[in-house]
């Protein structure tokens, strides 16, 4: 898709979102290593184009589900850094009142049906949301993010098949970052392209360069159009890479990946690449993009201040929200 067709606002929005994700993930990792965040974190640094390209093809009223590595997907769908960071700090002002944490961020008002810590678990309920929209007669679509490892679950296959036979408006988007924890793709599946699994379910499967935000955007947009027209689901495989370890604290090189491999992928860092595209196409100047970078840095600082200043939830909060109180 030509850059000119997308429009400057949208392009700069994508650039900004990618920057937000990068800064958020790096800041969170830093805070975690300093012992300031409880629990554990999975960083999506390197996968920004995959998250942002996909969510940029959604409208605010469309929904998405995400995974344990969900910060990027969720920021891409519209979550703000302050309430994200407050959740990581387990504060009352976080998206889940400090009760969900890194792996469970959700905001239904933003179409974020939640991240899940159970690999593969988001796909079936994304299918259900798509069923709901179809039955209600809206043209909303649902996009479900998952990983290469997640494509080996029964839930993945059952979800694809059901969505296929019912022609549901859902897009299955695989961040194929080549690893499931420490297991390389070649060890956990025989296929090279997760997209071929679409064939088994009679739906289109597309592989796209997940380091190229515009390619992911264009591919997802086509799938969204298809879904909106009632033509059913699409499986998109976005080939990407996580630059950090499986979890923050995992060195990410050594036992299962070489430093050289990581360095090779880092050369394809989606953010500087997109920056170059924008400048070369005359969409934005260096100065404009620098300004965005500065705005993002400021937003991050404010988010930390917000999170730090926010109160912890009351203890009684532990017993709230189990059931709807009538």
């Amino acid at each position: 898709m030509a850059v000119s067709e997308i429009g400057k606002d949208k392009l700069l929005h994508m650039y900004r979102k990618m920057g937000e994700i990068r800064v958020f993930e790096e800041t969170a990792a830093d805070l975690f290593m300093k012992g300031r965040l409880p629990g554990f974190l999975h960083s999506s640094v390197g996968q920004e184009a995959s998250s942002v390209g996909a969510c940029a093809a959604l409208r605010p009223e469309d929904y998405m589900t995400s995974t344990h590595r969900g910060h990027g997907d969720i920021i891409a769908k519209g979550a703000t850094l302050d309430r994200m960071m407050a959740e990581l700090f387990a504060k009352e002002t976080g998206y889940c009142k400090g009760k969900g944490g890194s792996m469970h961020i959700a905001d239904l008002d933003l179409g974020i049906l939640g991240a899940t810590g159970i690999v593969g678990a988001g796909l079936p309920y994304a299918v259900g949301a798509a069923l709901g929209f179809k039955m209600k007669g809206t043209d909303q679509v649902v996009l479900s993010f998952f990983g290469d490892g997640g494509s080996n679950t029964g839930a993945f296959h059952e979800a694809l098949n059901l969505a296929a036979v019912w022609d549901l408006p859902v897009i299955f988007l695989c961040h194929n970052n080549q690893y499931a924890e420490t297991t390389p793709q070649r060890v956990h599946q025989k296929i090279k392209d997760v997209a071929v699994r679409a064939q088994a379910h009679g739906i289109p499967g597309v592989t796209v360069d997940g380091m190229d935000v515009l390619a992911v955007y264009e591919t997802t947009k086509a799938a969204v159009e298809r879904a909106k027209k009632g033509e059913g689901p699409t499986l998109i495989e976005s080939k990407t890479y996580r630059f950090m370890g499986h979890f923050v604290g995992d060195p990410g090189v050594g036992i299962y990946r070489t430093r050289e491999e990581v360095e090779e992928w880092r050369k394809r860092d989606p953010i500087p690449n997109f920056r170059k595209v924008l400048i070369e196409a005359g969409v934005a100047t260096e100065a404009e993009l620098n300004q965005i970078d500065q705005d993002v840095a400021k937003e991050m600082e404010e988010a930390i201040r917000f999170a730090e200043a926010s109160p912890e939830p009351e203890l009684e909060e532990a017993l709230q929200d189990i059931f709807v109180e009538s």
Binding site: P38, F40, K99, G150
Partner: protein, 324 residues
């Protein structure tokens, strides 16, 4: 006697049984080069190779199914499910297949598989990575359920579990892995179904499981200063449950507190309390008390997590209420 960690104790049991019996093998996610999420199987790949230490895809139903099928044809698999929470995905293979196959087939088959996993709170892992789900498995006839609290027990019970001809659910605790304890170098096996009195006492019986045994021991030490003499029983296996040891203790003390990290409703505490009510009612001087997690999913916030989870203070309070 030397001291080793709970993690090392489980690993030693696996290693010794693998050396002893070539039909024993391991399968699970990231258990080979990486040694498992909690490093229990670290180093076993080097000794036994990839045929016997098998990395699997993220496919819990297939992991348990593969263990079950291999067991049915004469192997002795030990499958690792990374978190007990993920057992939910394998529940059909566990509940409808593994537990019942022998019975449904009229006693024709046996399934000597061990499914190891770990649960428990204390690391802000939130609602999907910190549950204690032992009661689910206890509720299913056909499964043995083991929940060791010390390195010594973990090793001896793992060896017995592997040698047992029945399916065994072996529940470790994420915060026990680094705990040290005395473990002899000589071979020993702890039979399934035998409780252990972790501390003899005369005033009150505390039945505690898994990490709560450690908490109960700490509480008992404090209460000793107050002149309360607590007897602590660790059932170690929940199925079969050593009712005799529990009943004998209650007959002596007349008071029972059950402590577990799982939520209260339909937890193992309910089973133990009901058993005591049925079989030793006349000996009870006071109502049975349960110290358990509150009936809520586990919150992420560390203070809320602590609020929900049983600890020494909550155990002491319950005991004082009974004895005071």
């Amino acid at each position: 006697m030397r001291e080793i960690t709970y993690r090392e104790a489980v690993r030693e049991a696996l290693r010794e049984e693998m050396r002893r019996d070539p039909s024993v093998f391991l399968l699970g996610e990231d258990i080979a080069e990486f040694g498992g999420s909690y490093k229990v199987t670290q180093g076993l790949l080097d000794e036994f190779g990839p045929e016997r230490v098998r990395n699997t895809p993220i496919s819990e139903a297939a992991i348990v199914g593969a263990a079950l099928g291999a067991a049915l044809v004469g192997m002795r698999p030990v499958a690792e499910i990374m978190y007990v929470d993920f057992m939910a995905i394998a529940m059909d293979q566990i509940v409808n297949q593994m537990a019942k196959i022998r019975y449904m087939f009229g006693g024709k088959a046996k399934a000597p598989a061990v499914i190891r996993t770990q649960g428990g709170t204390g690391r802000s892992s939130a609602a999907q990575h910190a549950q204690s789900l032992e009661a689910w498995f206890v509720h299913v006839p056909g499964l043995k359920v083991v929940q060791p609290s010390t390195p010594y027990d973990a090793k001896g019970l793992m060896k017995a579990s592997i040698r047992d001809d029945n399916p065994v659910i072996f529940l470790e605790h994420k915060l026990l892995y680094a705990e040290k304890g005395l473990v002899p170098e000589e071979e020993y096996v702890i039979p399934l179904g035998k409780a252990d009195i972790k501390r003899p006492g005369k005033d009150v019986t505390v039945v505690a499981t898994s990490r709560m045994v450690l908490k109960a021991l700490n509480a008992a030490k404090d209460l000793e200063q107050e002149g309360i003499d607590v007897e602590i029983i660790d059932p170690r296996t929940l199925t079969p449950l050593d009712e005799d040891t529990i009943l004998e203790s209650v007959k002596k003390t007349g008071k029972l507190v059950v402590v577990h990290e799982a939520v209260r409703r339909c937890g193992i505490g309910a089973e133990i309390a009901a058993t005591v009510a049925e079989k030793a009612f006349d000996y009870l001087d006071a109502p049975v008390k349960r110290v358990t997690a509150l009936d809520t999913p586990m919150p992420f916030n560390p203070k809320l997590e602590a609020f929900v989870t049983p600890d020494e203070d909550k155990i002491k309070r319950a005991i004082r209420e009974l004895v005071g």
